[in-house]
Symmetry: C2
Subunit: 524 residues, 2 copies
């Protein structure tokens, strides 16, 4: 009986899925209107049934206690790592004058429609519960474009750090989730060529330097150059974007495979593919740009020349910014997303990261580029706001640091407590409370046991386990003499000091504390 | 034709809604199985249709550019306010040793089922796209309980700041949204009576003091006392919770209305209602608790005595914590949520807030209580982890501050930039870039125009509009002499200093800057 009902539910769900299809096609409308009557009959029966049912509660059922597929909780250690990384990134963003914005976690579905090409199938939709049709945001770039167009903003340098959602096949050990953070920095506005673009590259280098996760290179290329290159190689214009997607696979696949895909799947001729093959193996510095500007074919292609001149200017600005040695002009860099229109870039770690005794390859850790036409897609008059931006791949950074934590390579402190108020004797809860109140009032990060008569050993153990450096220890005989003890948890040294000097004494001891740091200061 | 199709869609949506009902009832299963065949016929037709349709794309249509109902973007000013408020709250949470956790924005639907009573209808569901059935989180308390049970954690003092989702009727001017922040602090663990509970109250006072948004009172009551009171007044046990919900309306409605609802809707006798009416008008301090412990009826009721003894102990601890004058024992406080089992509390602003020339009443601004049975609902062996916690109503605080901003009562600075690098002359972009790189390298928050040859007036205007205090001004004649000018934007004073001393000079000037603050320091 249950299974039959479930099959029915399955069918109804199919009906639901077909609804969208039906809406779109006139043919569907015709067919569905004729079959409408029969369905309506059934619906009437079910409605009558509903009236009889009343508001019965769902029966409790066994289920596996878990987070949804591809998601996870962050425990206090993971949150500490995450907050430390984000704090460093925000410091760089702010140093460059970026303002912070936030947008809702969901958008009208129409806002996302037609922006992500094939990947649109990965968008999470909300159930139609009556009202607007909504989807969870897929990235932070489309919401930014929607925000700029909706508020008619022509200039903005903003950062946005928030979670985005993709119904992808998660590979969680490598930091790929269905719910994950993006950390975006974008400059919107009509400015002079390559000036904001170069600053985006500088921002990436400042962030990667401050995170200190190893050597990296910043690959750059230009969509106009790619277009010109495809054109001179004999790829028809309508195949530029799909050929571009294939070139994008060169960081993971050898040229031979990419060539085969171009010919067999993208309809590029073998001759064209071979010509492309000669270009995409090139990489270098501005000398390479100069050389290509002399290239017999490219030099005659307007688009290619525009791209090459752009790259030259960008590299020149990078030199002024002192980051020339980090940049590699690489003709194989293509980037997946359709909306890029100018410079594109990607930061790649050039060394595997040592985790415990194993080396782990991380690869791409930041990426971005210029997209001058996206905002116009939301403007009724198609008014453009040129944009360039970068997204930091923080999830990969988190997972590297979490792996290091698990391997014991680093440690983190999940609470900031400086002082623990303890007592060896019974009935000291009230005395402890008074001292705690005094310390909290003085802004000292303080903790005590929530038990009336905790054991001394447990209290000291709590300090050790949580890296709390100091304990105030109350005893009857000391208090009678107007004294309390301060214990240094690491050295185990105890000093008696006057009760009245406690706050002052603790503050000066906290000042000079040397607390273990995780990949930079944990404590502010 | 279109409207007919839409009607059909409406019907299918009804079918979808009936699905849940059908699943629950055996009767429904029987009926639906018999009518299953006909629907299946239609489904087959539609499936055939689907095959013909292929993967046609949605036609582009005009739509209103907006955020979903009940949600909003945060612009840089709003984000600055929000981040300042959250930073102050986090400082207090950390001072008490709370660790930070985070959970996914959605949960398996079953996790939320049966936790929110009537309000369950406000939960956002995700569309069934194949796979798990998910819902957006409704609060942070149920995800915490799920987290504790899933990870078998018996002790945790955590804070969690994140957005939650409710399909409510938004009242956005009063800070009520469908997507909004919660700021929760909870202490989980088996501890001695009222010790963690009192700390939660202290945390609320520290936060409200640090936010400095006016006078407030912290009302406290106890669910066991309410239960005992209802019992002695003659309310049957199965009506305790619903009577409690009615009492909860006393902060908005007069007693007469509440009395009528009790009698007409909740089935309480007029005599019982009148007896309740006498109790709920009482409020005071621990003297009131003492008096009620002598009350002829309450003193004989185990539950009431337990509640009163609890309140007495709590008030005693509050005295030790120095917050006695902020606490009001109030028998009319009931709190809406079902899951509270012990002490309950609510912070209320006692004065309207002046915004421009108008007074605005804000009311409740924080609330919470003890819930000892929630974690057990997720444990297969029903193992309990007692919890007490508080949620800060930050959206109300945000909207008060935003209204003050709009009225010109406060101002905010949305970027942290200290130095703007400007030039009056043409062709100084490269010189500016070199100076910027030097300042960024030195950690100085620096900005420049992204234009090659910006006008001096525009550059200085940018500084004034964005509260940037200092400008470095480059000129040909000064540079030839190895000098640059530093301009104080407010005083307009300009000083020539050696180019080589620039970083040092700027750092010492930034050190002594006095920048306008919004409700406490904007700058760290």
């Amino acid at each position: 009986m249950f299974y039959k009902a479930m099959r029915l539910v399955g069918n109804l769900s199919t009906v639901e899925r077909l609804r969208n299809l039906a809406q779109r096609s006139n043919y569907a409308k015709t067919i569905m209107t004729t079959s409408c009557c029969k369905i309506q009959e059934e619906v009437s029966k079910l409605l009558a049934l509903k009236a009889q049912l009343g508001s019965e509660d769902a029966a409790p059922s066994k289920f596996v206690l878990k987070t949804p597929k591809g998601t996870r909780d962050y425990n206090p250690q993971q949150m500490t790592i995450r907050n430390n990384v984000l704090q460093k990134i925000i410091t760089v963003f702010k140093r460059h004058g970026a303002e912070c914005i936030d947008t809702p976690v969901f958008e009208l579905k129409e806002v996302l429609t037609g922006k992500y090409g094939e990947d649109s199938k990965l968008i999470y939709d909300l159930k139609d519960q009556g009202g607007e049709i909504l989807s969870l945001r897929y990235d932070l770039t489309v919401p930014l474009a929607r925000y700029l167009a909706m508020n008619k903003i022509n200039n903005l340098k903003r950062y946005h750090i928030a979670k985005v959602y993709r119904r992808d096949n998660p590979a969680m050990t490598r930091g790929r989730y269905r719910e994950f953070y993006q950390c975006d920095f974008d400059i919107a506005g009509q400015y002079d060529l390559m000036v904001p673009d170069a600053e985006c590259l500088l921002v990436v280098t400042e962030i990667l330097n401050s995170l200190d996760i190893g050597k990296y290179v910043l690959k750059v290329n230009h969509r106009r150059l790619l277009d010109g290159m495809f054109e001179t190689c004999g790829v028809p214009a309508d195949k530029f974007r799909s050929t571009c997607s294939t070139v994008d696979k060169l960081d993971k696949s050898p040229w031979e495979e990419v060539r085969t895909e171009m010919i067999n799947e993208k309809g590029v001729t073998p001759e064209a593919a071979d010509r492309i093959g000669e270009y995409v193996r090139l990489n270098g510095s501005s000398e390479l740009a100069d050389k290509l500007l002399q290239d017999e074919k490219l030099s005659k292609n307007k688009s290619a020349v525009e791209g090459l001149e752009g790259i030259k200017l960008l590299l020149h600005y990078c030199e002024l910014y002192g980051i020339k040695d980090k940049i590699l002009f690489d003709l194989s860099l293509a980037r997946g997303l359709d909306y890029y229109t100018g410079v594109i870039y990607e930061a790649v770690l050039t060394q595997p990261i040592k985790i415990g005794n194993e080396d782990q390859t991380v690869g791409s850790i930041a990426g971005g580029g210029r997209y001058d036409n996206l905002v116009g897609m939301f403007d009724s008059k198609n008014k453009q706001v040129p944009c360039v931006g970068v997204s930091i791949g923080v999830e990969r950074i988190f997972s590297v640091l979490e792996a290091k934590l698990a391997a014991g390579d680093i440690s983190v402190r999940t609470s900031d407590i400086d002082v623990y108020v303890a007592s060896a004797q019974k009935n000291f809860l009230e005395e402890r409370m008074k001292i705690c109140a005094e310390l909290w009032n003085a802004g000292i990060k303080t903790e005590q046991s929530y038990k009336k008569n905790p054991k001394m050993l447990n209290q000291l153990q709590h300090c050790e386990e949580n890296g709390i450096p100091l304990a105030v220890i109350l005893g009857e005989s000391e208090l009678k003499r107007g004294l309390v003890k301060i214990r240094n948890i690491t050295t185990r040294q105890e000093d008696e000091i006057p009760r009245d000097n406690l706050v002052e004494e603790l503050k000066s001891r906290i000042e000079v504390l040397d607390i273990k740091e995780m990949n930079g200061p944990i404590r502010k």
